[in-house]
């Protein structure tokens, strides 16, 4: 008689999963504690791009604070894709949050006209940093707190503009991989066009994240999860990933640690801030 052999299922190449209900409740509690209890600013402003990250953030804020306390700011540049505006409008309609549209073309061009040799990367960074100027000013106008919308994947890959996308003081989705953001979006009821379209920073025509990065989010997330769990590159490749894609992810992470830190300050004393003088952010 041949006995059945029972073994663990083979290692999967899937990105990390998510219990969306638990996560949504947890993040809503986080936003309430952080804004209402601790900072005593029960209103949020969000740069609503028409993408899934800011949409999920808007849904979470609406759930945590009430839609009347959430201000979405659409900030198109003259070359932005028109669908970004209409997709953002779908979120406003679905959540009932407030919305303003502020065109950043004049502000961006006002500077860039003196920089005719600025390439696409520089121009994109100016747009991102201009949006942050607007967002912080709108937060002062509405007595509200800017909420960050950067996900864990782009933070790890360094795929963001330093002191722009990462500037808001509170971010509910920064520990969620992009794949998990999509799962949460489906649970929260984010309109389908935003979930199904190719993610894009929309800083250049026909730009997509995955083309910029050279890898799909699903593959990048699965590899990043291995890397963060402590698997060596060799062990990750052994699980079934291609050498080139593992190296690409590793290279991006290792070349962008600085983007995930505050500026480097020369230490001169034994009371250096954040080196010896250590106080938590909420103290």
């Amino acid at each position: 008689m041949t006995l059945p052999i029972v073994e663990p299922s083979a290692a999967l190449l899937e990105p990390p999963g998510l219990n969306a209900a638990v996560t949504a409740d947890w993040l809503a509690a986080f936003l309430r504690d952080e804004l209402v209890l601790r900072r005593k600013i029960p209103r949020a402003v969000i740069g609503l791009s028409g993408g899934v990250d800011s949409a999920v953030t808007a849904f979470l804020c609406a759930r945590a604070l009430g839609p009347q306390n959430v201000y979405a700011i659409r900030m198109p540049y003259r070359s932005s894709n028109r669908s970004s505006l209409t997709d953002a409008a779908l979120v406003v309609e679905a959540t009932g949050i407030r919305c303003e549209t502020i065109d950043i073309s004049a502000a961006v061009d006002g500077y860039l006209q003196s920089q005719p040799d600025a390439d696409a990367r520089r121009r994109g960074n100016v747009m991102a940093r201009t949006r942050m100027v607007v967002l912080f000013d709108q937060s002062a106008k509405f007595d509200a707190l800017p909420i960050g919308t950067g996900n864990k994947t782009e933070r790890l890959l360094g795929y963001f503009t330093w002191h722009a996308d990462d500037a808001p003081p509170v971010n509910p989705i920064g520990d969620l991989f992009k794949s998990q953001v999509w799962a949460l979006a489906r649970y929260l009821g984010v309109p389908k066009p935003l979930i199904e379209k190719a993610p894009s920073a929309d800083l250049e025509a026909d730009q997509t994240d995955e083309a910029d990065l050279g890898i799909s989010y699903a593959r990048a997330d699965a590899i990043l999860a291995c890397l963060l769990e402590g698997y060596s590159d060799a062990a990750t490749i052994e699980r079934g990933f291609k050498k080139e894609e593992v190296e690409l992810v590793r290279r991006r992470v290792d070349s962008t640690h600085w983007k995930r830190h505050l500026p480097t300050t020369a230490m001169l004393s034994n009371t250096a801030i954040n080196e010896f003088y250590l106080r938590p952010v909420d103290y």
């Binding site: 998510l18 947890w26 209890l37 003088y277 909420d282």
Partner: protein, 301 residues
Amino acid sequence: MAEAAALRVAIVQMKPDKGQYRANLRTSGEAFAQLAADSPNLVVLPEAAMTGYFLEGAVYELAVTAQDFARDLAAAWREAGGRTADLVAGFFENDDGNYYNSAVYVHVEPRSERIVHVHRKMFLPTYGVFDEERFLSRGRHLGVFETAFGKMALLVCEDACHAISATLAAVKGARVLIVPSASPGRGIEAEGELASITQWRDTLRLAAIEHGVFVIYAGLTGFEGGKGMTGSSFIVDPRGSILVQAPATEACIIRADLDLGAIDRARATLPLLGDLAAVLPNLLLDPELPLPRGARDATDC
């Protein structure tokens, strides 16, 4: 003195304002006022109940002596209308410039209070998000102490993650384990709740079943710089049943009446503790264990 047959317990699941010791004492007093009319015998508060958990260098500004903390806690209880009761809470202790993550068990009378026991956390998590040993010293002793409700032990948070802590406490006679805790939640792939909440309940249910003890787990709640404390305070009986459990993210009170006879009945039907006590000396004296064998070795540890 004959031991009581029942123990009415309340857990005050605190959501402290970071660093606001006096304000948090007032908040605990409001909870005590809710309890005073139908007073519990024992009220348990979480680890770092009056300050919040992640303090970094601010711990040196907020740490107090055990005597001062017991006095403040007892005063809050009495001002809320509380009469005779036992109180447990976690706090940061300053003992002559040595700093500990401690918990105190105080017996409170209408006009006086008495510290029954102070436990200093032995296992200081210092990895990943945790950095306790950067700022604090370790406790070195696991005490079991007498109360009107039988012998008890205090284990602060990670102390209870090590199976041997509950084991030694039980072998030394503890019938009730009290675990003030502050556990930052993580693990979003699991069903129904964060994985770290399940892990705590599983760990302490197994301790209760193996040793035939009640376990009272008081969890801090509220977010501290993005790290959410998981609350989820619970009481587990000596057969491993969860009698009551709090939600994760809300300040609240949970309470239950414990039938202390359940300890003897559980141990009669599953006498693992007696079995363990018989063999434990052989296990601990095993020369292959990496333990100090003399005074010099012990100093080196």
